[in-house]
Amino acid sequence: MTDPTLTDAAATSAVESTRTDIRRLDPAAAAAHLRAAAEAGRGFLGLDPVTQNDVLLAAELTRMRAQVFRAGDKLLGSVPNPDQPRQAFVAATCADPEPLRILLGFLDTRQRCSSFVAMVPDGAPSAAAFESCGFRQVGVLRDHRYQAGAYQDVVVYHAESGFVASAHSEDPCSA
């Protein structure tokens, strides 16, 4: 017999996930939020809000055809791979995997992405979110960034949509 406590817990988790407030941002708003994110925004989709001004950030997001979403004070983003329409580059500013799972589910079910790539500055907190979602490390880009007076590596992660842990099919654009 199923433990009703477990069933209730699963249902509660699903409801909380559904209620996660994720909103799509236009490039100008995304640039402003990236700037507000400060250190957490550095390296987001290859951008750097410390060395790039808002106009340049918005122009780069537009050029890349980036989608940026906000979940509270956390930012999520994706950019299509121009050479492989079923793959997307994704980014996050936090270690919490739940908003990332929702983004991956959206990209999988609504935009038919079958694999995801993340390029994460070495030591960034968001690496924990990607690992929690089933991403595995597939390489390290040497001296790819420059920050705090030194060159830093960037870690490359990859996941197939079928291996993304507990990705929910939700639409972050419904708000």
């Binding site: 492989q84 960034r145 490359v156």
Partner: protein, 153 residues
Amino acid sequence: MMLRGYRGGDARLLSGPWPAGELLGLPVNGRPALVEEAAVEPPRDAAVELCIAPGAAFVRFSELDWTARRARLEIGMQPEAVDAVAMLLKTAVAHGFHVLNLHRLYGWVTPAADPPLAVLGDAGFQREASVPSGNWLGGAAVERQIWGAVRRD
């Protein structure tokens, strides 16, 4: 071999029968005739450094980051000039490091297109990442690699 800036008369060098966005854009064996040729746009602003090896190839430095001093390198060789690919790649690396004063060059390589990987090693590149399903070639998603060269001086 020398590189110079792009001129209007070089337009024919900007397209060819290679996979798009490759570090070493060389003609692919068995490529169906119906496949559209890969092409890059003429430069519109300073966001891209587009160079020409006259009559042979284009060399493009894109995704330029002047803080990290890095750029993505793309080369498109015309079929009649492929024998010069090793010399051109070394010329491109020297241009990136010593003319543009970059610290890092990187590019995407699709092994299924059978590029000469030894040429990359000879020019100072190392394979840094292997991304499954990173490119679409021959009707299927195929692995794509990131190769990088770092200036050490």
